[in-house]
C-alpha cells in the first residue's frame, strides 16, 4: 500500500453534512440517533485498547482523509477493511449483507471522518460506527427485538445442566480458534449479537444495553445463553469427533 499523499488534491467530492456529530454517544441527528440514547449513552469501550495498537501511517492518513484526500481514505479502508468486515460478518452471519454493510460503514466514515477528534483510538471510533450500522440494519429487519423476546421465554434450556457422563469431553484445550469461529456463526442472531459484542469485541454490558435498548440484566442473560449454546455446539462437535 502506497503511503497516503497528504498534499494530493481531493479525489472525491467534499461532503458537508453533520460534521459536528461524534460517534461517542453524542449523535445529534440522522439515523445514528436512534441507536445512541442520550442519558444512557455508552462510553467508548476501554477493552478495545488491547486491540488498538498504533498503526504506522494511520494518523497521517486520517488527517489527509479529513482534508478530502481520496487516496488517504483508501489507505484507511485498506487498514481497517478486514476488521470492519469481520465484525459485520460475525454479527450478521451472511456474506452479502456483511459486504453491503461494510460498504455502508465506510461511506458513513467518509461523511463523518471530519468529526473524529482523536478522543479515542480511530479503530475504536470506526468500530463503533460499524456496530451502529449493523444494529440499524438489524433493527430494520426486526431480528434483535424478536431474539431478545425469545430469550426471555422459558425453555428447556433454562433448567439445570447435568451433562451426564460428559466429563470426558473437556472443552479446555480441545477447541481451536477455527472451531470456535465456525461455532460463533451458528447461534441465532440475537444470541450471536451479544456474544460478538461482549466476548469478541470487548464491549461492556452497560454499553451493549445502551446499544440494544435492553436492560443490563438482559444483556447478561443473552450472553450467558449464547455461551451455553456455543458450549452445546462445541461439545456436540467433540462427541462427533470422538465417535469418528
Amino acid at each position: 500500500m502506497a503511503a497516503p499523499e497528504v498534499n494530493a488534491p481531493p479525489a472525491f467530492p467534499r461532503l458537508e453534512d453533520g460534521l459536528e456529530n461524534t460517534l461517542d454517544g453524542a449523535e445529534t441527528k440522522g439515523p445514528q440517533q436512534q441507536l445512541t440514547p442520550g442519558p444512557t449513552a455508552p462510553k467508548p469501550p476501554t477493552q478495545h485498547l488491547r486491540r488498538n495498537p498504533p498503526i504506522a501511517g494511520e494518523a497521517e492518513a486520517i488527517a489527509a482523509a479529513q482534508g478530502g484526500d481520496g487516496r488517504a481514505f483508501e489507505t484507511l479502508y485498506s487498514l481497517h477493511k478486514r476488521r470492519v468486515y469481520s465484525l459485520c460478518l460475525r454479527m450478521l452471519g451472511n456474506v452479502a449483507e456483511a459486504e453491503d454493510l461494510t460498504q455502508e460503514a465506510f461511506l458513513q466514515l467518509y461523511r463523518k471522518i471530519g468529526t473524529f477528534r482523536g478522543d479515542s483510538a480511530f479503530s475504536t471510533w470506526l468500530h463503533r460506527l460499524a456496530v451502529n450500522v449493523v444494529l440499524m440494519h438489524l433493527r430494520k429487519k426486526g431480528l434483535p427485538q424478536v431474539s431478545l423476546e425469545e430469550t426471555l421465554e422459558p425453555s428447556s434450556d433454562d433448567g439445570p445442566r447435568k451433562d451426564i457422563g460428559a466429563r470426558d469431553l473437556q472443552l479446555s484445550g480441545s477447541i481451536d480458534r477455527v472451531t470456535l469461529e465456525r461455532a460463533v456463526e451458528n447461534p441465532p442472531p440475537g444470541y450471536r449479537l451479544v456474544f460478538v459484542l461482549h466476548d469478541v469485541e470487548g464491549y461492556e454490558h452497560n454499553e451493549i444495553a445502551g446499544m440494544l435498548d435492553c436492560s443490563i440484566g438482559n444483556s447478561k442473560s443473552q450472553l450467558h445463553k449464547a455461551r451455553m449454546k456455543l458450549r452445546d455446539l462445541l461439545k456436540s462437535g467433540l462427541r462427533k469427533e470422538t465417535r469418528e
Binding site: 479502508y77 478486514r82 445442566r161 447435568k162 466429563r167 479446555s172 470456535l180 470487548g202
Partner: protein, 85 residues
C-alpha cells in the same frame, strides 16, 4: 464414570445456574462459590464457559471483503452518492 448429580442436588444446581448470568456479568471469583466445591457438573460448566469467553477474546479478524466492496465504495464516492445514503 457418571457425573449425574444426586436428586437432592438438582435444586442447588438450578439455583446456582440461575445466578450464573449475574455471576459472570459481575466477574465473580467462582472459587468462593461453595456449590462448586461439591458439584463437579456445575464446576465443569463454569470452566467451559470461562474457556469459551477466553477463547473468544483471541478471535481475530480473519475475513477480507471481496474487492468489489471497495469498487462500490469508490464508485459511490466518485459520484457523490454517499451524500444521500
Amino acid at each position: 464414570m457418571s457425573t449425574e448429580p444426586k436428586q437432592d442436588d438438582n435444586q442447588d444446581c438450578a439455583e446456582f445456574q440461575g445466578r450464573m448470568p449475574e455471576l459472570f456479568g459481575a466477574e465473580t471469583d467462582f472459587s468462593k462459590e461453595d456449590h462448586l466445591e461439591s458439584c463437579e457438573n456445575c464446576a465443569e460448566l463454569v470452566r467451559d464457559l470461562n474457556y469459551i469467553a477466553q477463547q473468544a477474546k483471541l478471535l481475530m479478524p480473519i475475513h477480507d471483503p471481496a474487492p468489489a466492496v471497495w469498487d462500490k465504495i469508490h464508485a459511490a464516492l466518485q459520484t457523490g452518492e454517499s451524500k444521500t445514503t
